[in-house]
Symmetry: D3
Subunit: 134 residues, 6 copies
């Protein structure tokens, strides 16, 4: 049985590589490399897979999962500049893929080993990524 | 090839355990344990996985699947109180997980063995569960 | 300039008239008169119309509006049985129209007279009401 | 890591079998067999599964995937009559299942072998299909 | 108080003018003039404005409004070719604007004079029209 | 008859007032005043009200309106930092209200005087503004 909590956060970011010229960055990342950043309303689905607890009828208490996501993810990334404010992206480009990767690795150690975890992240209504661990 | 029919139903429910005190129920289930019930617009996706029929181009006739869902699920749960009106939840808490579990077991015997079945249920726009059998 | 905050709440309700027979209630309200209640995920849009404040760029601080809606509306109706728990519906049927009417009259006195107010309420994804005062 | 690009296209179609009588066609396909066609806003999610490129942070450049979908799918099917204008459906009924099958086989050879591909297609907001290859 | 019922229907159509050359039609209507039609999932919101009935708590019974829309609109247009099957569009181009105009004039005489009526029609998720009468 | 085109753009912004202390800015704008910016997927509905043209069946060619929005709005604001890159917000805080105000004044002179114009802007799925001119 899988259960999911959906949360949102808003952040600024920019995709560029300091080793490359501005031209190369624009060629690879297009408008996403604009030097003064742009931003998104990120939508995050956190899916937890595990057995139903017979006493509660829950796989996991979604209120607890909601608080976990707020403490670990929203507090960290909401209303932030991912490139400038977040050490997680100091040496990692804040592409949707890498954000999902980082979120998964932030949440995984906080969840009991009996659960499987996957995350789905909307960067825009047309661009989506999903990560379920290795 | 997987195909899905989406349907909705509205129901009242309450999460509580008769063996526990009101305090314990509130501690575990929060506002979901309020004695006079609350309710939801449940959204149900029913996914059927199987081969395409060469004659019809269908995995399964979605009109037939729609009628099956209405007969087996909506007739049973729509505009009902899951705790009081539905024998399926006499000894089972009507959590989203258990509702999905019950729906899967109601639909499974009605479908040809050649199909795999999974169900996804939205309790709110932020709380989702998914069940694909054992 | 109009601004809107969208919030949700979940509640149980029932439409029936104690002066009428069960048959008459079923004839008028159909499944909505089921004696043990059913429920909905209500979606509420609260629209406030007024001038932009030159200092803040805001018509009204949406964070303040969000807290107002939570204090006055969600606290009152979320995870409640509108018929049994809410004195507002003691002598008033909790139809979507009447819920919108009550919400408007709860919010109106809390807002400065310079603002106009309207509320839009989704009972289901297909049933919507809107009220802007007399 | 999976990434997805969402695109839409609008097309007319009809489900019928030339070997069958009108009565048989109506019995099997209902209103979908109406002789003068009807139509849909198809929503297509194209999911690509592969490793993250360390230089770009991308599994695949979603701008490139968007252009691929537009060149291979939208150019071919958007504002078309699938039965009359599209040779892909000369001998294949344009059911949602078969459209997804055709789309998958059009995109597969255009993608590097290191990627896995699946497509999800909405025919209406309630009818969805998904295909991930054999 | 305004109330709304949302319904959907699927239809094929084509925009062209028989008095014009193919070139002129393509210049004015682009891909919408393709000779073999294309189609849409139309989403229709029907808004009725009137007083709340004290006995029922309703402006209008939304079940009755739903049946009215199904009888007058869906029966007429769903799974149809608007150009070929529908006399309403014999001498009127089936643009979203004209479809909304026709729908309004079909529903208006069926509603009590005490109500005001407006209709909102989505042709795609990005193209919307609204008509409230003269 | 009103018609609408929906478009989206992504931008970074920050709300703060250079005349105020950081404390005052945080008190008024909360996290929206974070110095390194955050961002949003803005959704813009552009509504044009006017008569139906008898020849085309259009109030305005939505393809033309789409290109106008792209040229005047998306080119200007998409993937930009509203505070740093956009002279429109040099002396005006980029609140949702002010962005809608600026968009309305950019589009108004490009539209024939026979049309009325209003714009609706989603900053998040829960925060919406609407502006119809003075």
């Amino acid at each position: 049985m899988k259960v999911c909590r959906r949360e949102t956060f808003n952040a600024a970011h920019r995709l560029y590589d300091a080793r490359w010229s501005d031209e190369k960055n624009f060629e690879v990342f297009g408008k996403c490399s604009n030097p003064n950043f742009h931003g998104h309303n990120y939508v995050l689905e956190t899916w937890v897979d595990g057995p139903i607890d017979a006493d509660t009828g829950y796989v996991i208490d979604l209120k607890m999962l909601k608080h976990l996501i707020r403490d670990e993810i929203s507090e960290r990334f909401d209303h932030r500049n991912l490139n400038l404010d977040c050490p997680e992206f100091k040496d990692l480009k804040p592409s949707a893929e890498n954000i999902a990767y980082v979120i998964w690795h932030l949440l995984r150690p906080k969840l009991d080993a009996k659960y499987q975890l996957s995350v789905r992240l909307w960067e825009t209504e047309n661009n989506i990524v999903e990560y379920a661990g290795i």
